[in-house]
Symmetry: C3
Subunit: 474 residues, 3 copies
């Protein structure tokens, strides 16, 4: 008999009855609130042009490096999963075969959040009722494919169905943001889709493509970038463009959190050296830290929220990177130091009422030891919720238990889904809501919080807090 | 309707019934045992002169950097909370207004230990029955202020009411300890208040005030401190003075745990250089590590227990430090390394029966990985219980779960409250007792420990262990 | 009245009833499966010659540095416990007295895994029914000693009784493996006992005995080791010998995980320098990392599974080391970095189908942050289960909660007992089975996994997974 697939209404709630009842009750109060998604990777074109999703492989597998890496770790060739995403050489039969591979390996995902998200999508979005397996792969493929062809499964219809009130995309500073402009000018569209300024590649002067990048920046901004001052002016120009087009934040992801600025003279000197295409690893890091400090200064002036996603070792496996490019599962978390690294930035802007900083981490040791205490003290700073490798039930529970006692609920960021997997957005937010309610239920059950207090916190975590932290317009 | 404020008898106990019943039963056995407080920051003058507390702001807010930092993180100006403590320019109306600010922000403390401690004090000590809020601020202020004016709320009466059998203060090596002498000579006073030798500022030769400090040390000790040998002799002199005045321990807080001693020649050379007021950062660190090693050597001879509170980054926000001075919320935990750093000290004194070392940490990763295993092996060493930023329910539970399996209950220090907030001492010890009973109850409920064993451990943690570790006189 | 000693059938299971019932049911399914022990330290001679155990001290105390260190930490002289193991100068009365010391200090082990293992052995293996104490020490000693003298308590009988299907020993590359040959040639012996190649001492060229070690290696292998190329050839020779004698893995334990190879020219140069007996600390580390890389290369060719047990600070207390030698309780875990350190090795062999790597850690922070994500991506890599100082209930639960979400159940190693304490092997595997079932039961109780899925995982963790990871022959 084929095992059925259902979603238990108490999923993620604790088994202990008194606590479960409290969690249920809190969750009832927040489960239907609109989704605020202030950081993610959905391409804006999908919404602007309401582009239909093509097939289960392109939807679920080829772009999802969470799933890819697990299958790769069992010896599956990424090419057989349609990686890199967007390839035009995948035949329908190959797409179906990729899905079969996934379903055959479904057991691997036991205990992982990928299982949770996929089950939620299959059941809640597509109405699938059978567990993925070699036997059910084709049936599920056909059912999903058939639904994807209907108008109800186009991005805008789903955005309504999911009740996504606000969604930020992630965009290159040189992007013309025409899809965002298209959406802004579309009187039939009533939800908010906003760009996010993501300038990483322009801050890493040791990258082989850096010179070309900053040349392009000059071209797009109309500001010469042959000096560091010019680079700053060009960045200010593009941030202003993003802000004018609705951006609320700028996101940064670098190997460390260093923000110690060089003197302007030294910065100009290193910048000039970098322009020659030859800069040492340490010099490039110093220059990048100076640039990041400047980004904070700009943020304190233009009011774009600054978010930091540090300490990822990118493209660990060279052969995979060379075959498939970035973002295909070869990125890895590393340890991060925050207190010393952020000091220059926080001394300069940490009490500036116009500045807001959200620091994420995948190094959980930083939550209670560094990020919670820092955010508790500095009015401008917030602790980002678990992200990427730690966006998962047990990690999220540890996060709340590490940060709340000395960082408080009110200096955390609200949930971000950080995903390109559009159809998983409701499941991701739902997981977060459930787990925050579980944490609060524990506090109530242990008589550390009254029910009315927990209720207010649950609501704030989903609504007021992300709206405030990310300056989400009403 | 104004929400009421009550303390649930089962607070901090788990919801699961069987475990809760065990926790209750264990807690019943230890909840009324006298308080041993071997490390804290209550000014001895308070007890010696039985000085009445003046008002709720001065009692609860201006000196409490746990609370300050949370309010500061929401944009409250520390000056509006009466910071720095001891200011004589705060009007009664400003004091009342500070309390209103606190009560208005009461929601911020949800899920924090500050809420637990404050509720315990308001209900248990002052009999307050309403939840702090903008509406209730004045009422609570008036009730607390009225009680503070009565004899029952003077320090000695409270010390009796709280049943604090032993309390250590923290004192500068140059202190004349006259309040301790006054207490020792007061035949009407039957509790123990002892000084603690805290020489940090004399070990940090890179501090701008270091030369003046060691000059003062020479003056007070009558021993010239123009050489490192002189410094050692002066320190021995003051330790002897402290010991003669009842001290049981010496406390040290530096950025790292390094204890590698320089050769005497090198130490004298660096000391001489430091005396000129110009010493490099690395040299100052080497000299300090040598001094710390010497402190351990002295401890092995005079028998004062050595406690280490390492790895705090002090005064992170320069502007706050310049406006308000130290200890106002700008200190932050950083990562700590123990195994290599403590090796010279432990090789020299770790099996010395006259030496006792207690190492605290706020870097929780060190508990299971380094401190537990070190303390388990070295007869002289103990793991300090969670302190400062991790003196909170979830952190304390993690501590026991990290340390017990390879560090054992019997190589932990017993609870220290480390506080200047005199009225919170019972609540802090009570939290610790409850949580230790919860940990033991888990072990019993999971059939890892028999009830009679748990009972003995619970009693030892509150009584025998701290008495033994800190040489508390009977 | 003497407290009795019993083993509760629900030990280690959670108190919450629904979860406990699930855990029980899962455990029932795996508790009687044969033991696979792919890494341990039982001397093969014990099995080959079926050597009877002599007395409780030699069995339980002198060789057990888990127990030794706890007693040492309370001031017990290791000599009084019969340390180092194998001494021939311990009188019967001294052996008995050591046991009395242990029983008198039995309370110290509350909350530790040593208590769990010892209770399991006393009750399950020896049928002891009284709790160890000063009063019961002699009685227990006599009962155990009496049983040890019977044929039922000889190693082979116990191996049958414990149902140990496969057991690996740990052996020096120069070992002639004659006990393994004896076992292989013994038609009366039907269980598998295999050697493990453990070449640490030949990779640490800074050790005082290194030159002598590699001389010996040359002698045994018949390959000159005066060059690095020769060293490689000699190692290949001995690995082939081990493989021919049934080895399935090679184990490595060094201070860090570095695998960056030097150029062959540089390696030869440093090797030559090391041969003179004088090599700097950094140079020795570089050479060792090169050697470790070579070991991985050999493993990818000969198919011996590579296991890494890094980041132990050995022989921390010099005086103890000088009196008693290594492995007597003076080793300590330190922090470990994995992502950068393993990159050269994983880039070279991480997707090689003939290569298998298992990385252990006692630095728990590495599980979720580095090891889980690495193993998830690289087909060749697995995360080793908790080992040594973290082979204990709370640590094991944290391990599963840290690794499963992004490392999956299927990229963990299966349990290894890593012990010389032969009689504790069943208790150690039983603890692991119980705790894995508890973790799975939590997932089922929280509706994150179906019962049939949990059941399959529970079975795989005990059987298929360790068999696959370690190439255990059927």
């Amino acid at each position: 008999m084929t095992p059925s697939l259902t979603l238990h209404p108490d999923r993620l709630f604790p088994a202990e009855r008194a606590t479960r009842d409290i969690a249920r009750s809190l969750y009832e109060q927040v489960k239907d609130l609109p989704i605020i998604s202030p950081h993610g990777h959905v391409p804006p074109a999908w919404i602007a042009d309401d582009i239909p999703f093509s097939d289960p492989m392109s939807l679920f597998l080829s772009p999802d490096h969470y799933i890819n890496r697990i299958l790769h770790g069992q010896g599956v060739d990424l090419a057989d999963l349609g990686v890199p995403p967007g390839r035009d050489d995948v035949t329908p039969e190959q797409a179906r075969e990729a899905w079969r591979i996934f379903c055959t390996h479904w057991y691997l995902f036991r205990g992982t959040p990928m299982k949770y998200w996929m089950e939620s999508q299959l059941v809640d979005v597509f109405g699938i009722g059978v567990r993925p397996s070699a036997e059910t792969a084709d049936q599920i493929y056909d059912e999903v494919a058939a639904k994807l062809a209907t108008p109800e499964f186009r991005p805008r219809a789903l955005m309504d169905r999911f009740d996504i009130a606000f969604m930020a995309t992630t965009d290159d500073p040189c992007d013309d943001l025409r899809f965002h402009q298209q959406l802004a000018g579309d009187s039939s569209f009533h939800r908010q889709v906003r760009p996010t300024f993501r300038p990483d590649r322009y801050l890493e002067s040791g990258r082989p493509d850096w010179v070309a990048n900053v040349d392009r920046l000059a071209e797009v901004s109309g500001v010469a970038t042959d000096t560091f001052s010019g680079w700053i002016a060009a960045m200010e120009n593009r941030r202003a463009y993003f802000k004018a087009n609705g951006a609320v934040s700028a996101d940064h992801s670098h190997p460390d959190l260093g923000t110690q600025p060089l003197s302007r003279v030294d910065a100009e000197r290193l910048y000039k050296q970098a322009r020659t295409g030859k800069i040492g690893v340490e010099e490039a890091a110093s220059l990048r830290r100076t640039m990041l400090f400047e980004m904070a200064r700009m943020a304190s002036e233009d009011g774009l929220v600054m978010t930091l996603h540090p300490a990822v070792f990118r493209d660990h496996h060279t052969e995979t990177f060379e075959r498939f490019g970035p973002d295909v599962g070869g990125d890895l978390p590393i340890a991060v130091e925050c207190v010393r690294a952020l000091r220059p930035l926080l001394n300069a802007f940490g009490t500036n009422p116009n500045f807001r900083l959200v620091v994420f981490t995948m190094d959980e040791t930083a939550y209670g030891r560094e990020l919670g205490p820092l955010a508790a003290f500095y009015p401008s700073m917030y602790v980002g919720v678990p992200w990427w490798f730690i966006d998962a039930p047990d990690s999220i529970k540890r996060f709340r238990r590490a940060v709340t006692e000395y960082g408080t609920f009110y200096k955390t960021s609200g949930f971000i889904d950080d995903t390109r997997a559009f159809l998983s957005i409701p499941a991701r937010h739902d997981m977060s809501r459930r787990l925050d309610c579980v944490h609060l239920a524990d506090l109530v059950a242990e008589h550390r919080l009254e029910m009315d207090e927990a209720s207010e916190v649950a609501h704030s975590l989903v609504s007021d807090i992300p709206r405030h932290v990310f300056n989400v317009p009403a």
